[in-house]
Symmetry: C2
Subunit: 134 residues, 2 copies
Amino acid sequence: MVRLSKKVEYGLIAIRHIATRARGELVTAKEVADAYGIPYEMLAKVLQRLTKAGLVLSVQGVHGGYMLARRPAEIPVSEIISAIEGGNPGIVQCLSDSPEICGVASTCTIKSPLTKVQANIERAFSAMMLSEIV
Amino acid sequence: MVRLSKKVEYGLIAIRHIATRARGELVTAKEVADAYGIPYEMLAKVLQRLTKAGLVLSVQGVHGGYMLARRPAEIPVSEIISAIEGGNPGIVQCLSDSPEICGVASTCTIKSPLTKVQANIERAFSAMMLSEIV
DNA sequence: GGAAACTCCGACTAAAACAGTCCTATTTCA
DNA sequence: TGAAATAGGACTGTTTTAGTCGGAGTTTCC
């Protein structure tokens, strides 16, 4: 029906793992990759995106690693997902950010009803905080 | 965030179009394709799947076409989607029908929390009936 | 009975997205 | 300086998606 990408899956596992640690403690990408059998380079890139989005903080150098930027109760799952996936493509092309290149645009009849469904889905992800999955 | 395929989009447009007609009146795939600028052969295949799933009835022959098998208020959008997309692949591979080939399966920590989110999404689609989008 | 109009069906191709890999900086610390 | 870590670009193979093609089966009309 709907499907999250592997990257999102990995990202959720990783950020949850980080969340289980004491606040301020650093966790390396390698540790997470080893713990769950996730390809290291893939995971590294996912964590970089989470860093860019301001969800986790990174420390470079030999004793570096990642830590949460906020408390788990303040991080909605929806934000994790959109940080990894990039934009916010709608449930249907029509509903995405990008201007209408829908093809059926002018005659599209299902756009407005689907807006409601989309809002429901987003609410489902927004309502769930990281703290709920640790 | 989540995205429906073009086929689903076309299917929704088509079945909605059919639903606007008088009960029992036949609508051809060509009519729908022309009306919305949808590739004919693609739409035909989508309608075939809807037929197989028992959502619409098809009549062959020169004055054939499609009509709804039930009243719009009795057709949930979720059923339309899964009729077109086939199985019901979960929000994450772990949650799909197929037995675990997840890779991280044994150590996967996010599976159970996501089950709730998935249930919410399915509810969002199940709650909306075809009659609500005509 | 034959042609036309339509549905039905499966195989095929092209393009895009996804998952994963590789390689190289850059930063930090011992 | 070298090891360990993040940062990030480029690349490849696989899968999914969108769309096409060709043909077969049905019904209706003449």
